[in-house]
C-alpha cells in the first residue's frame, strides 16, 4: 500500500513535468498586459508551443491525470469486495465522477492548444513543432 502510494506520487511528479520545471525554470503562472486598460491578467496555459508549460499548469494537469486513475481504481474497489453496500456505492460514484471530471478537464485544456484557432505546423528536423494559438 505504501509502495503504491509512493509510486503514484512519483508518477504525479513526472507527468506534471517536474524535470522541465527544474531545468527550464518557467514562471509559476504567465501574465499578459491588457493593451487597452493596462491591467495585468494572468495566463494559465503557455501559448504557442507544444512542449512548454508553466509550473501551476503542469501540476494541475498531473493532478487531473492522477485523479482519473484513482477514479478507475475506486470503481474496481466498488465492484470487487464484499463491503457494506453504502461504501460500495460511494466508491462507485466517486470513481465515475472522478474519471468524468478528469477527462473533461484534460480535454478542455488540450483543446485550448490542440484544435482551436489557426494551426500552423512545421516539422522540425526530428520533433514535430506545432505552433498553436488559443
Amino acid at each position: 500500500m505504501t509502495v503504491f502510494s509512493l509510486v503514484l506520487l512519483t508518477y504525479f511528479m513526472v507527468v506534471s513535468g517536474i524535470v522541465y520545471d527544474v531545468i527550464v525554470e518557467p514562471p509559476g503562472i504567465g501574465s499578459t498586459q491588457d493593451p487597452y486598460t493596462g491591467s495585468v491578467k494572468p495566463v494559465v496555459f503557455l501559448p504557442g508551443r507544444v512542449n512548454g508549460q508553466y509550473i501551476i499548469e503542469g501540476l494541475s494537469s498531473g493532478f487531473m491525470f492522477v485523479v482519473g486513475g484513482i477514479g478507475i481504481i475506486l470503481m474496481d474497489l466498488a465492484l470487487d469486495k464484499n463491503r457494506a453496500k453504502s461504501v460500495k456505492v460511494s466508491y462507485a460514484t466517486a470513481g465515475i465522477s472522478s474519471v468524468v471530471i478528469a477527462y473533461v478537464m484534460s480535454s478542455l485544456k488540450s483543446q485550448c492548444g490542440l484544435s482551436n484557432g489557426v494551426i500552423v505546423e512545421f516539422y522540425d528536423l526530428g520533433y514535430s513543432h506545432l505552433i498553436l494559438w488559443c
Binding site: V3, F4, V7, L8, T10, Y11, V14, V15, S16, G17, V19, Y20, V22, I23, V24, L46, V50, N51, G52, Q53, G58, S61, G62, F65, V66, G68, G69, G71, I72, I73, M75, D76, L79, D80, N82, K85, A92, I96, V99, V100, A102, Y103, K109, S110, G113, S115, V118, I119, V120, E121, F122, Y123, D124, L125, G126, Y127, S128, H129, L130, I131
Partner: protein, 692 residues
C-alpha cells in the same frame, strides 16, 4: 541498415523486383506491426489474452510510437523498439518458465538490440535492477537463476561482437550493474547450496554474515580499484545527463541543444498518450493487486521509462510500450469486471428465485437482488463510457498522426488565415540552386542540422553535418557565426569555405530558423573557444534582436546574413519595414553592409539564404609581386596572405590583369559541369515586394 539489406536481398531472391528505397521507407512500419504482435504475446504473458489484445490495439495507434515509425523515417528506433520489446518479452517468458531456450532467445534479442541502437544500455540496466528487486522481495528461484545467467553471459558475449560496443560490457561504468547482479546471483545460489549442505540454522546464519561482509567488501574494493585505475570508465555524458538532467545544460551544450532532448512538459505527454495517462495508474494498481514475477517487471519497466520520458522528450518512445501494456491491463481488468457483473446478474436472479434467501448468505445475495436493475444499468452505462473513452483515444491518435507526424520534413506546409494550405518548398529550391549554380567542389558552411540534406540534395561538401561527432569542428563553425564579420572571414578562409547557408524565418514566421538556434551556436562555440561569451549577446539575460539588442548581437555574422536587405521589406500589413514575424519585433540594425561576403541566392519566401565568400583582397598579388626579387620578394610575401591569384585565374578568384589591382569578376566562370548555359546569373531583384 543490415535489416533493410537483408529484407531487400530476401525479396530479390524471391524475384520481387523492389527498389531499395521502397524497402528503406517501409522498414519502420513493417517493424511496427511486428511490435504489435510481440505486444500481444507480452500482454498474454503478463495478464491474459484479453490484455494482450488490448495492448496490441493500443500500441498500434499510439502517437508516441507512431512518431518514430512512420513510413519514410528510416532511423534506428523503428527497428530498436521492436528489438527492445522482443528482448523483454523473451526474458519475462524465460523467468516465468525457467527454460534455457527462452533465456537464449532473449540473449539473441539483446544482440539484435545492441546492433540496432545505443539505447540497449536501458535493457542492460533495467534487467539487473529487476533481478535485484526480485531478490529483495524474496522471489529468488531457479527459474530466475537460469534465465538471468543465460541471458547475461550469452548476451554480453554476443554484444562484444559489435565492433562499436567492443569491450564496454566489462569496461564501462554503465554496464557494471549487470555484472554486479550477476555475481550476486552466484552468491545467492552458493548460499542456497551451503544452506542445503549445512542443515543447521545457526551455523548457516553465522556463515551467511561472514560471507556477505566478505563479498560486499571484495566487490567494493574491485569496483574502487577499477574506477580509480581508469579501467572502468565513468558514465558517458549522454547517459549521465539522463540521471542528472542539469548536467547537459552546463557541460555539454551540443547534447542540450537538440530540441528532442528537452525535458518534457505535460502537454507533450497528453499529446502522445491521451487517455493512457489515466489508465496507467489504474493499471499499476491492478499489477500490484496480482503481484507475480511478470507484473513486477512491467511495473518497473513502466516506472523507469516514464521517469526517463520526463527527462527527455525523445524517450517518450521508449516508455510507450510499457504505458500501453499497463493501460491494457487496466482496460482489460475493468471491462472484465463490468462484463462479469452483467453476466452474473441473470445467474444470481435465477438462483435467487429458485433457492430463495438461504442462511447467512441471504443478506449478501438479497442485496444484489434488490439493486439488480440499478447495477445492471450502471454496468451497461459504464461499458458505454469505456467504449466512448477508447473511441476518443482512437480519434485523437488518428488526428495527431495526420496533423503532426505525416509531413515530410523538407517541405513545409502551413494553413493560411482562410484555411487554405500554403506550401513552402524553399529548402529544395535552395539545394537545387546549389547543385546547379556552384562549382562541383564548392564547400558550404551551414549549421549542422542541414548537413545531410545539403550533401544529398545539393551534392556539395559541407563543413559540419548531422553526424555530430567532432565537437570542436562544430564549435569552430559556431564561433564563425557568432563573431564579427572580419574575424568570421578569417575562420572561413582557414576552413576553405566558399558558400554560407543560413535559414531565416522572419518573412514567413517559421520559428525553427538559425536566429532562434543562434544561442546554441554561441554556447557550443563558447564551450570550446572561451572568447565567445554568451552574456555578450544577451540584454539583461534576455535574447533580443530589436533596437535594444546587445551590440555584439547586432553586428555578428549570423545577424548580418539573416537580415541583409530585410530592413527594406514590409512583411506584414500595418507594421514597419523590417518586422521579423518569427520573433515578433522590428529588427534593430537595418542598414547592413557586407564586406567579405556577397549574396548569392535567397529563396522565394526568404527561408534559405546563400552567401558567397569573396576572395581575400581584391588586390591582385601577381601585380604586387611582379618585379620584386630576393629579400624584397620574401618580405612582401610575408606581409600578404597565402593565396594569390594565378595569371589565368581559377574558378573562384578569376583572372588578374597585370595592370589592374582588381580581379576580373569570376561570376561567369563558376558554372558547374551539369549546367548548360551560364548566361544568366541570379541577382537580387531590384524591387522587394511584400506578401499580403
Amino acid at each position: 541498415m543490415v535489416t533493410a539489406a537483408i529484407m531487400y536481398w530476401g525479396l530479390r531472391f524471391l524475384r520481387f523486383a523492389v527498389h531499395i528505397r521502397e524497402v528503406c521507407v517501409l522498414t519502420a512500419p513493417f517493424f511496427a506491426s511486428n511490435t504489435t504482435l510481440v505486444a500481444y504475446f507480452f500482454g498474454k504473458e503478463i495478464w491474459d489474452t484479453g490484455a494482450g489484445l488490448v495492448a496490441a490495439v493500443l500500441i498500434a495507434i499510439c502517437p508516441g510510437y507512431i512518431s518514430r515509425s512512420v513510413a519514410g523515417s528510416y532511423d534506428n528506433e523503428g527497428v530498436a523498439i521492436f528489438a527492445l520489446l522482443l528482448t523483454f518479452y523473451l526474458f519475462v517468458k524465460a523467468v516465468n518458465t525457467g527454460s534455457l531456450a527462452w533465456g537464449l532467445g532473449s540473449a539473441l534479442g539483446y544482440f539484435y538490440m545492441v546492433s540496432a541502437w545505443g539505447g540497449y544500455v536501458f535493457i542492460i540496466n533495467l534487467i539487473p535492477l529487476y533481478v535485484l528487486v526480485l531478490l529483495i522481495t524474496g522471489r529468488y528461484s531457479m527459474r530466475l537463476y537460469v534465465a538471468y545467467n543465460s541471458m547475461y553471459v550469452l548476451g554480453m558475449l554476443l554484444a562484444m561482437q559489435i565492433r562499436f560496443v567492443g569491450f564496454q560490457h566489462v569496461q564501462s561504468g554503465e554496464h557494471m550493474a549487470a555484472m554486479g547482479v550477476f555475481f550476486l546471483m552466484q552468491g545467492f545460489y552458493f548460499l542456497g547450496w551451503v544452506k542445503h549442505l549445512l542443515g543447521d540454522k545457526k551455523k548457516f546464519e553465522a556463515l551467511l554474515r561472514i560471507i556477505v561482509t566478505c563479498a560486499v567488501g571484495v566487490g567494493a574494493i574491485a569496483l574502487g580499484v577499477g574506477t580509480a585505475s581508469g579501467y572502468i570508465s565513468p558514465w558517458t555524458g549522454r547517459f549521465y545527463s539522463l540521471l542528472d538532467p542539469t548536467y547537459a545544460k552546463d557541460h555539454i551544450p551540443i547534447i542540450a541543444s537538440v530540441s528532442e532532448h528537452q525535458p518534457t512538459a505535460w502537454s507533450s505527454f497528453m499529446f502522445d498518450f491521451h487517455i493512457l495517462l489515466f489508465l496507467f495508474p489504474a493499471g499499476l494498481y491492478f499489477c500490484f493487486k496480482r503481484l507475480s514475477d511478470a507484473t513486477i517487471f512491467i511495473v518497473m519497466y513502466g516506472l523507469t521509462s516514464m521517469y526517463f520520458a520526463g527527462v527527455m522528450v525523445r524517450l517518450i518512445l521508449v516508455a510507450t510500450p510499457a504505458v500501453c501494456l499497463i493501460s491494457a491491463i487496466a482496460v482489460s481488468a475493468t471491462i472484465k469486471n463490468l462484463t462479469t457483473l452483467l453476466r452474473t446478474k441473470s445467474k444470481v436472479s435465477q438462483t435467487g428465485s429458485t433457492k430463495g434467501a438461504s442462511g447467512g448468505k441471504g443478506s449478501s445475495k438479497a442485496l444484489p437482488d434488490q439493486s439488480q436493475p440499478f447495477q445492471r444499468n450502471g454496468a451497461i452505462a459504464l461499458l458505454f463510457g469505456a467504449f466512448y473513452l477508447l473511441s476518443r483515444y482512437a480519434i485523437h491518435c488518428t488526428w495527431v498522426t495526420s496533423e503532426a507526424y505525416s509531413s515530410p520534413s523538407i517541405v513545409l506546409a502551413a494553413r493560411g488565415a482562410h484555411g487554405n494550405r500554403v506550401i513552402f518548398d524553399d529548402y529544395r529550391e535552395a539545394y537545387y540552386w546549389l547543385r546547379q549554380n556552384t562549382p562541383a567542389d564548392a564547400k558550404v558552411m551551414s549549421w549542422w542540422d542541414y548537413g545531410y540534406q545539403i550533401t544529398a540534395m545539393g551534392n556539395r561538401t559541407v563543413i559540419v553535418d548531422n553526424n555530430t561527432w567532432n565537437n570542436t569542428h562544430i564549435a569552430t563553425v559556431g564561433r564563425a557565426m557568432s563573431s564579427y564579420e572580419d574575424e568570421a572571414y578569417e575562420i572561413m578562409r582557414s576552413l576553405d569555405v566558399n558558400y554560407v547557408l543560413v535559414v531565416f524565418g522572419g518573412v514567413t514566421g517559421y520559428s525553427s530558423d538559425d536566429i532562434n538556434k543562434f544561442l546554441w551556436m554561441v554556447r557550443i562555440g563558447g564551450g570550446v573557444f572561451p572568447v565567445i561569451k554568451e552574456p555578450d549577446y544577451l540584454v539583461n539575460g534576455e535574447y533580443r534582436v530589436d533596437k535594444g539588442a546587445a551590440p555584439k548581437m547586432l553586428n555578428c555574422l549570423m545577424y548580418k546574413l539573416s537580415y541583409y536587405r530585410f530592413g527594406e521589406l514590409v512583411t506584414e500589413y500595418g507594421k514597419p519595414p523590417g518586422y521579423d514575424r518569427a520573433r515578433g519585433v522590428e529588427i534593430g540594425n537595418k542598414d547592413i553592409k557586407l564586406e567579405h561576403l556577397e549574396e548569392a541566392f535567397t529563396t522565394s519566401n526568404w527561408i534559405v539564404r546563400i552567401y558567397k565568400v569573396k576572395p581575400p583582397n581584391n588586390r591582385c598579388y601577381y601585380a604586387i609581386l611582379k618585379g620584386l626579387k630576393g629579400k624584397a620578394l620574401k618580405k612582401k610575401l610575408h606581409s600578404i596572405s597565402v593565396t594569390y591569384c594565378l595569371k589565368q585565374g581559377n574558378k573562384y578568384y578569376g583572372e588578374c590583369h597585370e595592370k589592374s589591382i582588381r580581379f576580373l569578376k569570376p561570376a561567369n566562370k563558376e558554372a558547374s559541369l551539369d549546367r548548360e548555359t551560364d548566361s544568366e546569373r541570379w541577382a537580387p531583384p531590384p524591387q522587394v515586394f511584400c506578401k499580403s
